[in-house]
Each structure stands twice: as structure tokens, then as C-alpha cells.
């Protein structure tokens, strides 16, 4: 089956990328000028403390051996142990996973569900008021830094009007509505930039598609407007839109770090910031791997979806 072969090929293509990420993550510590053990041990560490760190982390072995050991452990699901808390990195990550996942998915869902229709309408009513409004929103939304928007939203919705919580996260286990309420403002703050990007590409892609001859044919057949727009046009416009959704995931992940900090959500983003500032390298390494893997998987899904959206892309 041509489609299966395509999927397998795309899967294999992700391996070199992950290899580079793994190499980078491994060498991160060793890239620093100075002694890695000293960096980890901290500024005021004694020589004995530094040596202890060195022995504990195996930093005195040859570099190839270190890499092999590290990689092997990684493939078995062992990402090492936090320097400060002595807990396994995998456990720390698993604990913080739910909030980040909830935030990311809800943002993704809201952004895509709103942005694509907005973009379609803008292209359909090109150069009229609706279009200008959408374009204005797109330009402004894309320039807005996440944390600024977050604070603006908090100021109005939480502080002044007291409609939503100022910060914090309520796990889904503790009730569905509090869970939703705690996610609304963060999702909007995080999602606006993403929405602006998607709406813009949707509009641009639709505009180009609407000029094509096959749309003229569809109109000459007297088909209903929504069928022409949504099936005939949008399906053709979808490849660049889906591409941008994938590229935007990177924006989303970067934004998660900031959003969690602003809203005090105990997720992976906050974990990253804390770990980096404390120079808890095993956690940093683990997190970069996790985020990179997430990004790679998303892009893989997007690559695969191309085959379903455009029958010409089956190679």
C-alpha cells in the first residue's frame, strides 16, 4: 500500500533528527566552558564535593563510554536522577505532565477550531470589512508577547471583573468545571499568537485556491456555497494550513513555559524554568528530550496527514 510505505518512510526520517537532539542534549553540559562537575556542584562547592559529583555522574569515564551509557539508560526509560531532589527525572516529569498536556491540548483545540473558520470567512469576504478585521487581528495577535497578553487578561477578567481565577491549576480529578475555569485564561493567552498565525495562513491559502479554475468549475455546476468553500476549496488549501499548525507547535511549547510561570501552573514549563535556574542538568536534559520528541511526533502526524489531504502527495 502506497500510503503505508509513505508512513513508514516518514517514521524513519525522524530518527536522524532525534539523534541530533540526543547528541545536543548530551553535550549540553560538556559544552560549557569549565568543568561540568564543577558547574553541577555549584559555585561554592569544595573540591571534594566536585569530585563526588564527578564520580557519581560518571564524568571521569571516556566520553564515548559516557554517551553509550547515557543512551542505553535513556532507551530503557531512565533519564537519570535530579541533582537536587534525588528523585528520578522520569517521575518528576510524569507528575507534572497533566497540567501541561491539558493546557497544550486545550489551546491547540481552541486555536484551530476558531482560527480556521475565521480565515475561511476572511478569504471569502476578501477586502470587505470582515476581512480587514481578521487581518488586523492577525497582525496584532502575532506581535503580542504571551506574558503581556496574559497579564492584560488577568487584569480584566480576574482582578477587575473577578470572573476567573487569577492563577493556579485545578486538576481534572478535582472537578470538571474548576478544571475548565483554570484553563480558560491561560489557553487564550497562549493561543492568540497561534490563532493569528493559523488564521493568516488559512486566509492566504484559501485566497490562492479560490482563484483556481476548479473553483470556477464548481461554481459553474451551481453547487452550494458552503460545499464549494469547505470541501472544494478548503481541502485544497489544507496542506499549508496543516504545515503551519505543525510549525506553530514550537511556538506553543515555548509559550507554555512562560504561561505556566505567569499563571503558576505546576506543569513541565515551570519545572523547566526551576531546573534551569538551579542548573539541575539531568532534569533539563530530560525535558529538552521530551519537548523535542513531542515536536517531532507532532510533525510526523502532520506529515502523515498530508497523504490523506492531498492524493498527489503519496511519495
Amino acid at each position: 500500500m502506497v500510503v503505508t510505505a509513505y508512513i513508514v518512510r516518514r517514521l524513519f526520517a525522524t530518527l536522524p533528527v532525534m539523534a541530533v537532539v540526543a547528541l545536543f542534549v548530551f553535550f549540553l553540559l560538556r559544552l560549557a566552558p569549565g568543568d561540568p562537575a564543577a558547574i553541577i556542584a555549584g559555585e561554592d562547592a569544595t573540591n571534594e564535593a566536585i569530585e563526588a559529583v564527578r564520580a557519581r555522574l560518571g564524568l571521569d569515564r571516556p566520553i564515548v563510554e559516557q554517551f553509550a551509557v547515557w543512551l542505553w539508560a535513556l532507551l530503557q526509560g531512565d533519564m537519570g536522577v535530579s541533582i537536587f531532589s534525588n528523585l528520578p527525572v522520569t517521575r518528576l516529569i510524569a507528575q507534572r505532565l497533566e497540567p501541561t498536556l491539558a493546557l497544550t491540548l486545550s489551546t491547540l483545540f481552541i486555536a484551530v477550531a476558531l482560527a480556521i473558520p475565521i480565515g475561511v470567512v476572511a478569504a471569502w469576504k476578501a477586502r470587505k470589512l470582515a476581512d480587514r478585521l481578521v487581518m488586523g487581528f492577525a497582525v496584532l495577535g502575532f506581535a503580542m508577547p504571551v506574558f503581556v497578553l496574559a497579564y492584560v487578561l488577568i487584569y480584566f477578567f480576574a482582578v477587575q471583573w473577578q470572573l476567573l481565577p487569577v492563577q493556579g491549576y485545578s486538576p481534572i480529578a478535582e472537578g470538571f468545571w474548576p478544571f475548565v475555569e483554570s484553563l480558560i485564561l491561560p489557553s487564550i493567552a497562549l493561543g492568540i499568537t497561534y490563532m493569528a498565525l493559523i488564521a493568516r495562513i488559512t486566509r492566504a491559502s484559501m485566497l490562492e485556491v479560490l482563484q483556481q479554475d476548479y473553483i470556477r468549475t464548481a461554481n459553474a455546476k451551481g453547487l452550494a456555497t458552503d460545499r464549494v468553500l469547505l470541501l472544494h476549496a478548503l481541502k485544497n488549501a489544507s496542506v499549508p494550513i496543516v504545515t503551519v499548525i505543525g510549525i506553530g507547535i514550537a511556538l506553543l511549547i515555548s509559550g507554555v513555559v512562560i504561561t505556566e510561570t505567569v499563571f503558576n501552573i505546576p506543569g513541565l514549563g515551570r519545572l523547566t524554568v526551576d531546573a534551569v535556574l538551579k542548573r539541575d542538568y539531568p532534569i533539563v536534559q530530560g525535558l529538552i528530550l521530551v519537548f523535542a520528541a513531542a515536536k517531532v511526533i507532532v510533525n510526523l502526524i502532520i506529515d502523515i496527514s498530508y497523504a490523506f489531504l492531498d492524493p498527489r502527495i503519496r511519495y
Partner: protein
């Protein structure tokens, strides 16, 4: 005449950066039930725009039907709502276009594109639509029709795609099929097949065909009556044999003379006569043209021609012309 389509004094205009372009400048003609009418003229003469105007497919942001009447089976089309026009398109009046490569949607199957037309207009189920699509593919002589239904346009050749376009256009048994240069983008052998197919289908279904082309050869082979257009105006109209035997308008005569001929012998010096051309250029359509549109290039032109536009007069036997010099 048993006219199914009556166009009277059609004026279609476009807004461009250089001003208002009068693409169709007062055109009138009839299409009889079941006849094959050819509309011929060079690029830019307004023939395609006339076709698009009939179906009201002129993009509203840039153009409009400024004036005129289009009657289809007695109904005035220019005052219908968009919804009512949509019911007509693809159903009672169909249109096929020049570029089969790009006129079919690349991400939808052939079967879907034909069936959706049937389902939309004839209000039947998808299964019935697909069955009809298969019948149509058989009708246009595409082999292995059942398999083709699930294929995509890029898997077909140009000639086959044009057949699919024809199948799509005829799927609801329209009264009129407008074909805008349907064979121009195809190579010559396929051209002949497609034209033959269209005529054969016309015999079977009784559909009138309005064939738009710049190729006089296609006109001679395929049409019964011809309308000649120049600069947005109709300059001559005749049954096809009469047009070729006795062209009345100087433009038509120029076109006939310009056809390269293989049956002319070389003279004593071994030279063949030069190809005849019509001197000059097409007029700009952004200014209103005073007088006869062809006057600037016409060897018979007089001051009267340049100051007053000649009316279209009937010269007998269904042959009409708009010319002061040859039409009186």
C-alpha cells in the same frame, strides 16, 4: 426559430486600473433548441465573457452585466437571485472550460465530482449519483468506468479529463451546453475525438451546444450556425456554409484569407504567395468606440464608418452583418 436562449443587447463591463473595459458591447443572438452555434473571434473579442455572462459567473467584485437581457426558455436570467441561478447552473445550462488540467479539483475523486452534481440538482441519493456517474463515464467512452470513479484527476490524461468534464456537464441532461474552447489545450488527434463525441452526445440528448473557439477549422467541422465577434460586438452571423462561401464582413473575409493554405501552387519563380494578415491591432476596450470597431483596420472604411456604428442587418437566409459597406 425555436429559441431556447435569447440574448438581447448584452453589455458586460469590468473595472480595471486603466478604466472600465467594455468586454461585451451590445451583443444579441439566439440559440435554437438542439442546434450547435459557434461563436468565433480572436482573443479578447468578448466571446468567453459572453458565455460567462449567460451563467452570471462574472466575479461581482470586478465586473457586471451593465445592460441587456438574457432569456432562457422564457425566463429572464438577469433578474434571478443567486440561489435561483445556482439551480440552473450544471442542471439546465452547463459549461465546460478550456483547461482540463486545472478545471477538475485535484483532491476529489472523479466519481465525487460527477455524482455531486447529480445529487445536488436531481435530489437523489449518493448511490444513485454514483451510478449515474458511471453511466456518464461509459457514455463519454472512458474504459473501465467503475475503477475510474475512485481515481483522481492527476491519474488521467488531458483528453480523458476533458471527457470527464463533458460527462459532468451533461450529467443532469441540460438544455444548453456552453463549451469555451474545449479543445484548444488538447492535441489535434484528441481534438477530433472530443468534437465527435460532443456531436454524438448532442444527437442522443438533444442538448444545444454553444461552441466558443478561435479556430475556424473547428467551426467548419462542428457548427451549424456561426456568430463572429470583434471588439465586444457581433459583426456577422450566418449558417456555417454561407459564412465560408460568402463572408460579408471585412473582418470575416480577412480571417478567411489569413488561413494558411496548402493547396496553392508555387508560381514560375518557385515562390508561394505571402500569408495575408489583417493590418493593425485590436482597439482598446477602455474607451467607448465611436463608429465601427473595425474601421481602423478596414480597407473599405469611410468617414461614415468611423463616425457611426453600423447596425446589424439581415442580408437574407439567416445571414446578417454589421457593416455600412457590405451590409446594405
Amino acid at each position: 426559430m425555436n429559441a431556447i436562449l435569447q440574448i438581447r443587447d448584452l453589455h458586460t463591463q469590468f473595472d480595471t486600473l486603466d478604466g472600465v473595459v467594455r468586454a461585451v458591447d451590445g451583443v444579441s443572438f439566439d440559440v435554437a433548441r438542439g442546434e450547435t452555434l459557434g461563436i468565433v473571434g480572436e482573443s479578447g473579442c468578448g466571446k468567453s465573457v459572453t458565455a460567462l455572462s449567460i451563467l452570471r459567473l462574472i466575479p461581482p467584485e470586478t465586473g457586471r452585466i451593465a445592460q441587456g437581457s438574457i432569456r432562457f426558455e422564457g425566463t429572464e436570467l438577469t433578474v434571478l437571485s443567486e440561489e435561483e441561478m445556482k439551480r440552473l447552473r450544471g442542471h439546465r445550462i452547463s459549461m465546460i472550460f478550456q483547461e482540463p488540467m486545472t478545471s477538475l479539483n485535484p483532491v476529489l475523486t472523479i466519481g465525487t465530482q460527477i455524482a455531486e452534481n447529480v445529487v445536488r440538482h436531481l435530489r437523489v441519493s449518493w448511490k444513485a449519483g454514483r451510478d449515474r456517474a458511471r453511466e456518464m463515464l461509459d457514455l463519454v467512452r472512458i474504459a473501465d468506468a467503475a475503477r475510474r470513479l475512485d481515481e483522481y484527476p492527476h491519474q488521467l490524461s488531458g483528453g480523458m479529463r476533458q471527457r470527464v468534464m463533458i460527462a459532468m456537464a451533461l450529467s443532469c441532461a441540460p438544455q444548453v451546453l456552453i463549451a469555451d474552447e474545449p479543445t484548444t489545450a488538447l492535441d489535434v488527434t484528441i481534438q477530433a475525438q472530443i468534437l465527435d463525441l460532443m456531436l454524438e452526445l448532442k444527437e442522443k440528448t438533444g442538448t444545444a451546444i454553444v461552441l466558443i473557439t478561435h479556430d475556424l477549422g473547428v467551426v467548419a467541422e462542428t457548427t451549424e450556425r456561426v456568430v463572429v465577434m470583434y471588439a465586444g460586438r457581433k459583426v456577422e452571423e450566418a449558417p456555417v456554409e454561407a459564412l465560408f462561401d460568402d463572408p460579408l464582413h471585412p473582418y470575416t473575409r480577412g480571417l478567411m484569407q489569413a488561413i494558411p493554405r496548402l493547396d496553392v501552387d508555387a508560381d514560375a519563380n518557385g515562390e508561394r504567395p505571402r500569408l495575408q494578415e489583417i493590418p493593425g491591432l485590436v482597439p482598446l476596450l477602455t474607451r467607448p468606440i465611436v463608429g465601427c470597431a473595425f474601421a481602423a483596420r478596414c480597407s473599405l472604411a469611410t468617414d461614415h464608418c468611423r463616425s457611426a456604428a453600423p447596425p446589424f442587418v439581415d442580408a437574407g437566409a439567416g445571414h446578417g452583418v454589421a457593416c455600412w459597406e457590405t451590409g446594405a
